[in-house]
Amino acid sequence: MKPIYFDNNATTPVRAEVFEAMAPFLAPDGGFGNPSSLHTLGQQAHAAMESSREKVAALLGVADPGEIVFTSCGTEADNMAVIGAAFAHREKGRHLITSAVEHHAVLHACDYLEKEHGFQVTYLPVDRFGRVSPNDLRGALRPDTLLVSIMAANNEMGTIEPIQELGAICRSAGVLFHTDAVQSAGKVPLKLKDCPVDLAAISGHKLYGPKGIGALYIRRGVQLHALLHGGAHEKNRRAGTENVPGAVGLGAACAVALKEMSTDEPRVRKMRDRLETGLMERIPFVFLNGHPTERLGNTTNLTFDAVEGESLVLALDQAGFTLKNDALPGLEVSTGSACASGLLEPSHVLKAIGVPMERIHGSVRFSLGHFNTEADIDTALDIIPKVVDRLRSLSPIWEDRQKEKV
């Protein structure tokens, strides 16, 4: 029985169109050339890279493909934006602003700048839905602020940040604005050329492209220090022989996303909404974490009270075993519980929106994608209440809840 995959914010499968576009560049007798080489093979690889750059630029709504730099992943793109901007503009000041709900690719880069290089970082709080307030940003700006970095949409709860407004504040203050667009690229339309955004990071494997490739949009004229030093690749902005198959895959994924977003997004959103309301109707004591409306259409983060998230993830993964019915497929989801993280740290995102610790431990993220079907939702709505019931039957907290009700 094929499992039902609801973890598309963690990673997505490579789409067939993407795989086919990449294959000629991976085949033993294929286009293995180095784009820096002047011979025909090299120039073929070069042309493929440039054509992919155009496709990435088109998805991001960027007029000039020269503003796109390929990186090895979303994390590298975020690091390049944050660390590269800090080093290039340290004459202006030592202050950066970000939010408490950013991905670790931004948070830990900021942490590194604070600890190792004497920068100061302000971490803006968010409201109970995970939104940064424009007024808080205005209040945090200083004459020595060199960069503001706020994500376009949150990976854990899907909350969409008011990027247009936040960027405009930075623009009028003359401060660079970076956005981690890893989760929103391919899910919501972006038109960066009309946005007050200077830097934006994306990742291949979050939009049905391969792993090992990302990109950073760098608005023309914005100076960054490079993270990697070596050859003159990517116009001296990112040294290292280009990942040609990866870049071709990212380009193909961007082209598919641009073509299908307007039909795919509402279809996925409809399924997500049916899953979310269905679970809330069928299971008592379920809470939504994140913004009810200003949210990615594929994501829902729910707390199942009195159940611990790691055990729920395991039990759903082996739903057939859990419910003693081999005909049932497994459900693949993720959790913000500390018990599921390698460091036993609960989700910093859910902490930042004020979810009590006990409820963070019971949080589960369902992130849908292109390959989900209405039948998946029917099956999930059948399986999940039964699995939650089973775990609650083991839970002393649930026992207490029942007593409270009486």
Partner: protein, 117 residues
């Protein structure tokens, strides 16, 4: 990540439930930390005759609770006092290093039951 034995005890937990006539009740953990174990013991002729549990926690916490209820049956109080978290983890075929604290939770619940007896 988990051994087959851990998964077996997680998916088929033994001796789940409350025990209204328990002779000893042990508690460990807190909801803030993400795990709570309640252990119930019934004694007959100085030995544990029945043990049950209820646990809120991760797969390892549920599995350690389950195996603990098997390990304690037939034991005298001095024998119960000698049970360590390492023995609990070993009985499950080992636990991932970051999950060893779940076996500590089991030992604490047992100790708490014996203290309150």
């Amino acid at each position: 990540m988990y051994s087959p034995k851990v998964m077996d005890h997680f998916q088929n937990p033994r001796n789940v439930g409350d025990m209204p006539d328990a002779d000893a009740v042990g508690k460990a953990g807190s909801p803030t930390c993400g795990d709570i174990l309640r252990l119930y013991l019934k004694f007959e002729n100085g030995r544990v005759s029945r043990a049950t549990f209820k646990t809120f926690g991760c797969g390892a916490a549920i599995a350690t609770s389950s195996i603990l209820t098997e390990m304690v049956v037939g034991k005298t109080i001095p024998e119960l006092k000698a049970i360590t978290n390492v023995q609990v983890a070993k009985a499950l075929g080992g636990l991932p290093p970051i999950k060893m604290h779940c076996s500590v939770l089991a030992e604490q619940a047992l100790k708490s039951a014996l203290e309150k007896r």
